[in-house]
Amino acid sequence: MKEFVPAGADLELRGIRKEFPGFTAIENLDLQIPAGEFVALLGPSGCGKTTTLRIIAGLEEPTRGQVLIGGKDVTFTKPHERPVNTVFQSYALFPHMTILENVAFGLRRRKMANPLQLAREALDMVELGYAAERRPQQLSGGQQQRVALARALVNRPSLLLLDEPLGALDLKLRRQMQIELKAIQMEVGLTFLHVTHDQEEAMDMADIVAVMNKGRIEQLGAPEALYERPKTAFVSTFLGQSNLFVGDVVESSANSLSISVAGSKISVPKNRAEKHDGTIAIGVRPEKAEFHRTQPAASAELNILGPGEIVDIRFTGVSNQYLINIPNVGNITVFAQNIGISPVIELGEQVWVSFKVEHAFGLVDLPAGNEA
């Protein structure tokens, strides 16, 4: 199985811009993906991720910029001449051909020897060998998805593009397919670029996540890095939730800097802050924050805010989510893991919120509505 496909190639997008009549889908995109990685392109609908995929596949031409695969400029190469294959969101299986013929399609066009035999092997790999003579309409969604995958993989593409291929599947099937896809990718060592709006999926499957918003890539990196240290307001709120505080920098020492928010000081380590002067936003993940019934002792390692009032409590199974309103600061969300000893607290009680300085992160921009 390991000899079935060669290793993948790396992908580079330089200065890609795509304009459509009436709007610009991609502003200025730079992206570098090393070979053999599973990369997720994550973003909300309309952010341009599908357009990016289509440009890489050759189904659209960029208005400006270059696409390089394995170092070769393929910007103006036709799709049928690129070593790229796509697994489409709707699978796009040819209804007038059997599954076997579907999978063999690309091999036949490239005039490969023994197309049917190779196709059968590919179907076996996705455990659908027994259905080779059936038509796509006779298969279930999960089966069709696997055929679409086999049809793409059998061509040994340098780069495999997946356009939200799991969107139409129910939760359980989706989880199963996520595991299978990741296993296949690791086994054959291809470069996968997976487009999705589901952040859990992205963080779960990918080695590298690129978060895209409004035609730009805001941040790129390993899932944990992105989660623990988001660099922009969008990433901090799109990937998980964040509490954000905005203020002017009032103190700056060797290792940390602080802003003042409603009389309280909020500090962030300098090596976790993108911007070091002016008005900045500092954030913290809700699960890293705690609340206390009495004011905690001041400490250099702790950011303390309060007092405030609990205005909402939600039970979500895994955790309790508390919404605390602190005058002049705003609402702060705190997650408390449900380990059986849930803090007995009621709406309206007065509490203080604290979080460790080392858990704070400083953003490069300000949340919407805060621009000076």
């Binding site: 049928h80 294959n85 709707s90 299986l93 007038h96 399609f105 061509n155």
Partner: protein, 268 residues
Amino acid sequence: MNRYRLSRFILPIYAVIALVYLLIPIVYTIVFSFNNSAGRTNTIWQGFTLDKWLNACQRPGICEAVGNSLLIGGVSTLIATALGTAIAYALVRYQFKARSLVSLSLFLPMATPEVVMGAGLASLFFNLGAGYGYMTIILAHVMFCLSFVVVTVKARVQTLDPVLEEAGRDLYASPSMVFWKITFPLLLPGIVSAALLAFALSFDDFIITYFNAGPVNTFPLFIYISAAKGVPAEANVIASAVFILAILIVIGTQVGSNLRQKRLFAIK
């Protein structure tokens, strides 16, 4: 409750009556094709016979006329289907400026009276010095069949998801391969449908043909010319045969595709 129940039946009963009304002339025509009529008149029932069906070509001129209609129909259908399919595909898949104008130009022939088109073409051919005959008839037929082909194929193209063609390109098929291996097979039912429609229109056309035929006799012309003195039963035979064939083809394809669908979804 009872009143509500009864009123549900009004529509189906009406439909049956309407269908009977629609089918009366057809039944009449078919029945009279078995009439043991002497000579050219076929107005009074004179007994059942299979004679006319077995010896239809003995009536002078009729089989030649039918032959001409078949030939003209075949050629016109080929040309109209090819031209019309191309236009239909372009209309659905491509963006271009003169869309409205093109749609309008295709609609007008369908809404224009045959008399106007017939007279117009006749005067055009006359001014060009072209003699009336097969060529002029075929040129005329292609013209009025074109719009109907476009409409029929267009409906089919609209059911064709563009992503299938994109998948083809993604899988190393050149544009012409994409057309022959993906687009064309999937459009085929619509194209065949359009071709049948074009053939039916051409075979049955009278008015436009009458203005442009010259010496050539087609089946509808034969009937019209006979109408003054009496249409022979053989004409009924031919028309009935064509009718039965057409209905069988249409019903056959519908039942066939229904069975195929059932078979496909039986296995999962």
